[in-house]
């Protein structure tokens, strides 16, 4: 099999807007799954609700497209009932951090052997661009027309604090690094979160002076701060530039995990 064999060809083209980063994340995930040598008989994709969560519908394997925010709870049931299945969860920032926040921290705490890939586009895309828990302060959305006044969640740091065995963050521009990070997540026993900063030109960029896809990509590229560089800045006592987000592998450890195949 090759990565292309995992696609439900009859459902393409997908529903994503032109320039959406979600499709790239699907590619990286399938390439990583293919690298693992997993098959249709032992792989399950699970998702909640939102743009990101439509992804399993384009993948030719067993898949569960569930209710808003609950994907990790469904995935916990699938994985514990049959540890022989490899479970990958697609989720978004609203799905994971807002309505599914409780399930998220508890999935990290339980450290159930699965990989969650969060496509963080900092907005509720499917409902038309409302503010989410990761919409940056000052950003315009349809529910924050005067700029978001709320501080944001750092999902990757949250997962580290809650106990996940592997946490990484990349962007939909850094496809090679993203693929490698997902592959590491798939290999790591226990819970793995790979947060992907993705572009949403339609609902985020359009309202926040990043109208073109290239503007959004440039924004992702220039605002990504490699974790090693951040650590160096801290060591040297230098300030970390405003508005940057850390990319790279944030943690990889061996806390006791649940649902690991015997």
């Amino acid at each position: 099999m090759s990565a292309a064999d995992w696609q439900r060809i009859d459902r393409l083209p997908n529903i994503y807007c032109a320039g959406c980063g979600n499709g790239s994340v699907i590619n990286c995930t399938l390439a990583a799954v293919e690298e693992m040598g997993w098959t249709r008989e032992n792989t399950v994709f699970i998702s909640g609700i939102g743009c990101s969560s439509r992804a399993p519908g384009y993948i030719l394997t067993d898949s569960l497209h569930t209710t808003h925010g609950r994907a990790l709870a469904f995935a916990t049931g699938v994985k514990l009932a049959n540890p022989a299945l490899n479970v990958v969860v697609f989720t978004g920032d609203g799905d994971l951090a807002a309505i599914g926040g409780n399930h998220f921290i508890h999935a990290c705490r339980r450290n159930v052997d699965m990989t969650a890939i969060c496509m963080n586009n900092q907005i509720y895309g499917m409902t038309g661009g409302q503010g989410s828990p990761t919409t940056p302060r000052g950003a315009i959305s349809t529910t924050t027309p005067y700029g978001s006044a709320e501080p944001v969640f750092d999902l990757a740091e949250l997962a580290v604090a809650a106990g996940a065995n592997h946490v990484a963050r990349w962007t939909s521009y850094h496809v090679k690094e993203l693929m490698a990070a997902i592959a590491t997540g798939l290999q790591t026993p226990g819970f793995s979160l790979v947060e992907v900063m993705t572009q949403c030109p339609t609902n985020y960029g359009r309202r926040n002076r990043l109208r073109q896809v290239s503007d959004m990509i440039e924004h992702l590229r220039t605002h990504a701060l490699l974790v090693q560089k951040r650590d160096r800045l801290i060591r040297e006592g230098k300030p970390i530039p405003e508005g940057m987000f850390v990319v790279g592998e944030l943690v990889r450890r061996h806390r006791p995990a649940m649902g690991v195949r015997a």
Binding site: A4, Q7, L12, P13, N14, Y16, C17, A18, G19, C20, G21, N22, G23, S24, I26, N27, C28, A31, S172, Y173, V175, K176, M179, V213, S214, I217
Partner: protein, 90 residues
């Protein structure tokens, strides 16, 4: 191997234009039947993947395919070389 864009899937986002290290993709100029301006290929034979995929037995660069959100980029086998007569005027 030959680099192809599947026009039935491409939505014209031009992400491939941004990432190709060889500058093979160029922003297109004309809409196709679906109303999408599909990127043009500028001398695609320069693509390493086209030339060296068989030699190395694996996908090489592949950035454009990996980032294409619409799964529209692929390499296909070229049909066997068919000789045809070329007249050269001196």
């Amino acid at each position: 191997m030959r680099l192809v864009i599947d026009e039935s899937r491409c939505k014209g986002c031009n992400l491939c234009v941004l990432v190709c290290p060889y500058g093979i993709f160029r922003e297109g100029r004309e809409q196709n039947q679906r109303g999408v301006i599909v990127p043009e290929l500028d001398r695609p034979e320069r693509c390493t993947n086209c030339r060296l995929q068989h030699l190395y037995g694996r996908l090489l660069c592949g950035m454009c395919q990996m980032i294409c959100p619409d799964q529209a980029i692929a390499w296909e086998e070229e049909r066997p070389y068919e000789p045809h007569r070329v007249e050269v005027e001196f």
